[in-house]
Each structure stands twice: as C-alpha cells, then as structure tokens.
C-alpha cells in the first residue's frame, strides 16, 4: 500500500525554484532515506511534502488523498514531521514534551485527556526508553536523550508516516545506533513508514530500504542502497573522492572518504633488509603499513599492517588459547598487536627461505617456511578421517607496487598454484592416499603490497607480477622442502 506518493513536484521559496520534478512513492513499512550535499534542496523537499511550502507544480498524496484536501489536523493525524531539533525556550518535563504529540487528537472546547492519549504517550516513552525520565526537565538531559524525547513526541502523534530531518545529527555513535535501531524496529515490526533526511551516507545505507540521492534540486538516483551508493555517482554528486566497500555484516554498501594529501615525501619501498631474525621467529618489519590479505592466526583478512611474524611453536603447543597466547607473545617481543600479522609453524624459522626478485614494476620478496609431515592431496582429502596438524607451509609474498583487490585475490591463487607445483616437483606424497600432495592441512598465505609505485589491476600467471609470484613462490617452496627433507634425514 502506498502511504506517500510524490508526483512531479517542483517548487521552493517565492521566485527561486529549488526543487525540480521529483517523483517517488513510499510503501507502508518502508524506510526511505534522502541524501544529497548541503543546499541540494533536501529540507525544501521535506517542507513541500509536509505541506509547509506549496509546490509550484505537482502533487503530494498521503494514503491516496492529495494533502491540500486534508485539514491541518487530519494531516497531522496521518503524518508527523520532526524538523531538526532546536533548544527549548522554556523548561518542560519529558512527559509534558511528549504529551504535545497528542495535540491533533484532542478536540473540543476543553479537550480532555483520554485514556488513548495516555496510552500513546506511555508507549512512546517506553519505545524510546525515556519513561524513566518522565518528570525530569528536558534541559537537564544529554543531547542523545533529548533527541529521544522528541522522537517520543513524534511517535505519540501516532501517525503512520514519520518524516525526520537528520534524526541523529550531532549524536555519538551509540545514540545514533540506538535511535536508528528503534526506528528500524518500528518500521519492520509495526509497519511504520519513515522518510528521513541523512547527512551520513553509511547510516542511510545501513538502515534504509530505499535511498533518494539529490543533486541541485533534482533526483540523481533512486533505488535500493546498492543502486545508489555507487562510487562514481557519489563522487560526482558530492565532488569528493570516495570508495565503496562491503559492510562486514549487512548486505549494504558503505563508503570511505579518500583523502587528498601526501603524508610523506620519502620513497616507500621494502626489501630483504626489512627482515629481522629472532630466537624463535622471523619477522618482516616495514617503516610504513602495507596492505595485506592473509589467512594468518593473528589479524587475518584484509587490512593494513607494518609487521609480519612467523613463529616457531613446539609440536605440543596448545591450540585452544591461541588468540590470547599469540597476542601476549606479540607484545612480549615488543611488537604492536594492532599493527602485526602473526603466523606459526612447527618448523625452525631460522631455516626460512628468503628471496628477492627484481621486476619491471619494482620488486617482490618471497619468504617460505615448509613442514610437510601432514601433506595432503586436496582432491583425495575427503577420504581422510584423521586430522594431522603436523607440518605447515607458510608463504609470504611482499610486493613493491600497488595492487587492486582483484590482484590480491589472483596473487593468492597464483601463489597457491606455485606451491602445489613445488610439492609435485619434490614428489611430496599424501601418505593416506599415496598420491602427490598439493599442500598441508594448515598452510597459511600472506600477500602484501606497499600500494606505492606501479598500479597493477591483475596478478594472474601471465601478468608481470604474476610471473614473479609464480617463479618466486615455486623456487622458495622447493628450497624450503629440500631443507625440510635434509633435516628429517639427519
């Protein structure tokens, strides 16, 4: 059911039209976010929808009725508009403030307070969690609490359509989340319909079903968040460099600002000289953070880190407490737990193979430790019933260059293929199936790039960088396996 329908509206103040031909519909139980740069006409649009400004052309329908056909009071029962909050000129308690929301429902000369009024006020205060402050003066509440009181006032108005102008402006993230979670719950569970102006693109994307992006009074885009939060589009409208990425939990795009400044002039490259050998670890310590994609024990995934360590642990190492133990280990050795990627192996890290390969784009460093005691053939692994956590091949590929996201993923693939090929060359067998192994059950891989120098969009086997990854990982892994075999023979 269509609660709000905006049909080709244009208009603004007196001679200057601000809004040009905007149309959209909002269904019952839908949350629409309005986005756009400062001065694009968001507030004017809200004023036209709420009937404060008459459009010069076009119409606004609420529940199928044009708003000019409704009396002010009838309109107030159907639609609540909450402008940006201003400070109260006079003291009022929370309850008094929320009770104001019942104004359109009170009629008659003496307009007495009904049971329905009372219920609506209590419910609104409960939903916004301000019931406990009901006798407190609004002046004495924090910004977030005050905002909740005004939202309670809006909810007490009990209309099915709620229009909000920047409902979480100036609030800290806890209060932003609290208020938007609450509004979202009302939308999802009780079919409230909400139209809200947002400054924060990420919040709008997270909480809204649809977004309307405005530019200079016109509709630039309308649709689900993934149809609106598009890098190129936002960069055009906001005239700022941004990048979009996935939200870690919700299927909603998020954006990040890309700052335009050079932090340092000096050249940013790494080499084998960044390696430091410890008593039971090998570490790679850069002067600046590298972009890393890894399957490490500590700080796995995608991120920016300065230090990578590969640590020797005894075979009887207790894997249960690995997260806290590893964090403690990192700190004990003087590294920063938030700036370090950590892996471990049963192999002595002094035996790590370290190679540097010059290339047309810069250079590439490969560091490998290999233990192949539990080597498996991945195509036969389903037949295995016993897990043997012995032996790990840890591979680091560190590139002087700038990789795209897809290059990171292709780099991981190329490195893995090279590793498998090395196992094949060295005739490493899966003891269970008696076929040639492709890896071990606990291999880890790290691909890091300085993100300076040449940009490389792809890293497949026949790209410049892919060729070096293949060659480097293959050679280093073969050498590491040979070292391992020699150790075993002794």
């Amino acid at each position: 059911m269509c609660v709000l329908k905006v049909e080709h509206i244009s208009g603004g103040y007196q001679q200057t039209p601000i809004i040009h031909d905007i149309s959209f519909e909002v269904q019952k139980g839908e949350f629409l976010g309005i986005l756009g740069p400062n001065g694009c006409g968001k507030s004017t649009l809200i004023k036209i929808i709420s009937g404060i400004i008459k459009p010069s052309s076009g119409r606004v329908f609420i529940d199928g009725t044009p708003i000019e056909k409704l009396s002010k009071r009838q309109l107030a029962k159907k639609m609540t508009v909450l402008p940006q909050i201003q400070n109260n000129a006079f003291p009022a308690t929370v309850r008094e403030t929320v009770e104001i929301g019942r104004y359109p429902h009170q009629t008659g000369f003496f307009s007495s307070w009904s049971e329905e009024d009372e219920k609506a006020v209590i419910k609104a205060m409960e939903l916004t969690d301000v019931l406990k402050y009901q006798d407190t003066n609004v002046e004495f509440l924090s910004g977030g609490e005050r905002q909740r009181v005004f939202i309670a006032q809006a909810l007490a108005q009990s209309s099915e359509l709620l229009i909000l102008d920047e409902p979480t402006n100036h609030l800290d993230i806890a209060h932003q989340k609290q208020i938007l979670d609450m509004i979202r719950r009302e939308v999802t569970e009780h079919g409230l319909t909400v139209v809200a102006v947002f400054h924060d693109i990420n919040l709008a994307s997270l909480y809204c079903d649809h977004l309307l992006l405005m530019e200079a009074g016109r509709m630039k885009a309308y649709g689900e968040p993934h149809e609106v939060i598009i890098e190129q589009q936002l960069m055009e409208v906001y005239e700022a460099r941004i990048s979009t990425q996935a939200h870690p939990e919700q299927p909603k795009p998020q954006m990040a600002i890309l700052p335009d400044f050079e932090d340092e002039k000096k050249e940013k490259t790494v080499s084998l000289s960044n390696i430091q050998m410890g008593a039971d670890y090998v570490a790679f310590i850069a002067d600046f953070p590298l972009k890393v994609l890894s399957s490490a024990v500590h700080n796995a995934g995608l991120g920016w880190y300065r230090t990578f360590i590969n640590r020797t642990v005894p075979p009887e190492y207790d894997i249960e407490n690995v997260q806290t133990e590893f964090m403690q280990y990192i700190m004990n050795n003087g590294f920063s737990p938030t700036n370090t990627v950590g892996m471990m192996t049963a192999v002595d890290t002094k035996k790590a193979v370290m190679k540097e390969y010059p290339a047309s784009f810069g250079s590439l460093i490969v560091i490998v430790t290999a233990g192949i005691g539990g080597a498996v053939d991945v195509s036969r692994a389903y037949q295995q019933t016993v897990f043997q956590p012995i032996g790990t091949i840890n591979t680091w590929v560190i590139i002087n260059g700038k990789l795209s996201d897809e290059a990171f993923v292709q780099g991981m693939m190329t490195a893995t293929e090279a590793k498998s090929k090395a196992l094949q060359t060295e005739n490493v067998m899966d003891k269970w199936s008696n076929t040639i192994a492709t890896g071990t059950p606990t291999d880890s891989l790290l691909v890091a790039a300085t993100q300076h120098g040449k940009y490389m969009q792809y890293a497949g086997p026949i790209t410049e960088v892919g060729k070096m990854i293949g060659k480097g990982v293959y050679e280093a892994t073969v050498e590491a396996i040979r070292i391992y075999k020699r150790e075993m023979e002794q």
Binding site: I52, K72, R73, Q74, M79, V81, N87, A89, I100
Partner: protein, 329 residues
C-alpha cells in the same frame, strides 16, 4: 499532578487575597479594615476604603493581571523569555495611540468612554506588527537580542513622539499626559469599568489559544505538523496581547517589567504549560502590582513614587538574570 495544581492555584489566590487585604488596610490614614462592612458606624473610613483604596487596589490588580498574561503570551509565541509589552515597545505604542486621541481631540460617540482604550489597543497592535516585521528583516531567526533591541529602538522613538505631543499640547492636557507615564492613583471605579471588558476579551482570546501556545514552543514548523494553523493562531495571540496591553496602558500608563517578571517566576515554580501559566500569571500579576502600588505610596509617604519605579526596581534585575542565564546556554 492534581495536588500540584491545587497548590498552585491555592497559593496564588491566597497571595492575591493577602495583597488585597494589605493594600486596603495600609495607608497614610489609619483605617480599620472592619470599616469595609460598616457604612453606618464609620462613614469616613468606609468612604476611604471603598472610594479610594479599593478602586486603586482593584485597578492595580487588573492592570497587573492584563500585563502579566500579555507577557506570558508574547513570551510563548515568540519563544523569547525577555519579551513583554514594555521591552518590545508595545506599551509605548499603546501610549502614543491613547495620547493621540487626546491630542487630536478624537471622540467617537460609538466608543464613548472606551475611546482611549480602543486607540491604545490599535497603537499597541500596529507597533507590535512593525516591531516583529522589522526584527524579522534584521535577523530571520529573530534571536532574543534582536527583538529586544528592536523594542528599544521603537520605545525610544515612540517615547520622543510622546514628549513632542506633550510639549505641543495645552496646559490641562499636560496633566492628562502626565498620568499616562504610569500610575494607578486617583482613578476611581470608572477606570476599572473601562478595563474589565477588554481584560475579559483579551484573556478569553489567549485562553482559547493556550494549547496552541504550548505546541508553538516547539517551533512553527513542528506546530504546523501537529495540526496548528500557525498564521491564524499567531494573529489571534498578537491581537489578544494587544487588547490587554492597550487597555491596561490607556488606564494606567506604561508600567514596565510586570509582563516579564510574573510569567517568568510563575513558570519557574509551576511549569511552562500555558493552560495553567495564563490563569496563574493573571493571579500573580494582580498580586504583584497591588503590592508594588502599595510600596510606591507608602515607602516615601506622604509622597508617592511612580509605580513604574517600583516595578523596574524588581524587574530590571530579573531581566538581567534571565538574559545572563539564556546567553550562557
């Protein structure tokens, strides 16, 4: 809640009774209060009480009530705690209106004794409109200071108009103009009779808008979205406030700060809900002006201080306090 209201109205009525009793009992001549029921036994005392002190106290009370509710309404409507008929220049406008009738010898038989009051009201309303339009032109958001400064400008200008009219008028007129500078002395019951109908009308108009005043505290946009016809209600409230101010000024002249102090203190103690702020300001405004008038005629007896001196003595510090507090917000 009910208990609080009972206490609010009970204490305000008690204060009014007490100040009435004081005002009637005290004075240059020692008169027993009991003489009020004793025309036969003590005709002189009876006459002093009924013909001098009573009308004076009642008039002071009605003027105080009118100015206080006008102040409460202006403050609520303009969301400005410093607004009152005096500070925004409306009282001066009413004075000019009232004096013009005398100066130009305007006498409309239809209005009879109400001529002065009606012209006072017209003067008040026109000044109010001009002040508001000007203040809005200066600063669209109409900050507290803007409105007060505009009030100062118009008060000064209208004040010099009054002086000019006074200087140009005949001797006997100077006396008339003189009392327009603020007094409730020697007016008798006729002035009470002039004021009462306007007080009733003005109060009734504002009382009909008591809930709208509550809603409009949250801004015009929010009020409109709650279903208030903001433009119509605003005019109604401005007319109501002008009726009260114009009528009060035409019988007693300009008396400052009553409309500022009374709503402020009433709000501080009993809350900002206009459903009760208006009637409570009525009662407390009456009490305050009765007491101020009592002080003005007793403190330097046998001479009298102008009542405006006494109200300013109380009002100016309160004004300073509110200003200070609001600026620190």
């Amino acid at each position: 809640m009910k208990k609080k209201l009972l206490l609010a109205y009970g204490s305000s009525i008690f204060l009014l009774m007490a100040s009435m009793w004081l005002a009637v009992s005290m004075g240059s001549v020692d008169v027993p209060f009991s003489a009020i029921w004793d025309q036969e036994g003590n005709p002189r005392a009876y006459s002093i009480l009924w013909n001098i002190r009573m009308p004076r106290a009642v008039l002071a009370g009605l003027v105080g009530a009118a100015l206080a509710i006008a102040g409460a309404a202006f403050q609520g409507l303009l969301r400005n705690p410093l607004a009152d008929p005096y500070t925004i220049g409306v009282s001066s406008g009413a004075s000019v209106g009232a004096i013009s009738t005398i100066f130009f010898g305007i006498s409309l038989p239809v209005l009879g004794p109400y001529t002065l009051a009606v012209f006072g009201i017209i003067g008040a309303f026109l000044t109010l409109l001009i002040v508001l339009v000007f203040a809005r032109l200066v600063d669209k958001s109409m900050k507290m200071e803007t409105l007060i400064l505009t009030g100062v400008i118009f008060s000064s200008f209208l004040g010099s108009c009054i002086s000019l009219l006074t200087a140009l008028s005949h001797e006997e007129l100077k006396a008339v103009v003189g009392w327009l500078l603020g007094s409730v002395a020697m007016r008798g019951w006729s002035y009470v009779n002039i004021l009462v109908p306007f007080l009733v009308i003005g109060f009734f108009i504002l009382w009909l808008n008591r809930r709208e005043l509550n809603v409009m505290m949250y801004g015009d946009e929010r009020a409109a979205s709650l279903g208030v016809d903001v433009v119509r209600r605003r005019y109604a409230i401005l007319v109501g406030g002008s009726v009260l101010t114009g009528a009060a000024v035409s019988v007693s002249g300009t008396i400052g700060f009553v409309g500022l102090v009374v709503p402020h203190i009433t709000r501080m103690i009993w809350g900002a809900d206009h459903r009760h702020l208006l009637p409570l300001s009525f009662l407390n405004g009456a009490s305050l002006l009765i007491v101020c008038d009592l002080v003005s005629r007793t403190i330097v007896a046998p001479q009298e201080l102008p009542i405006g001196v006494v109200t300013a003595f109380v009002g100016a510090p309160v004004f300073a306090y509110i200003f200070f507090k609001q600026r620190r917000k």
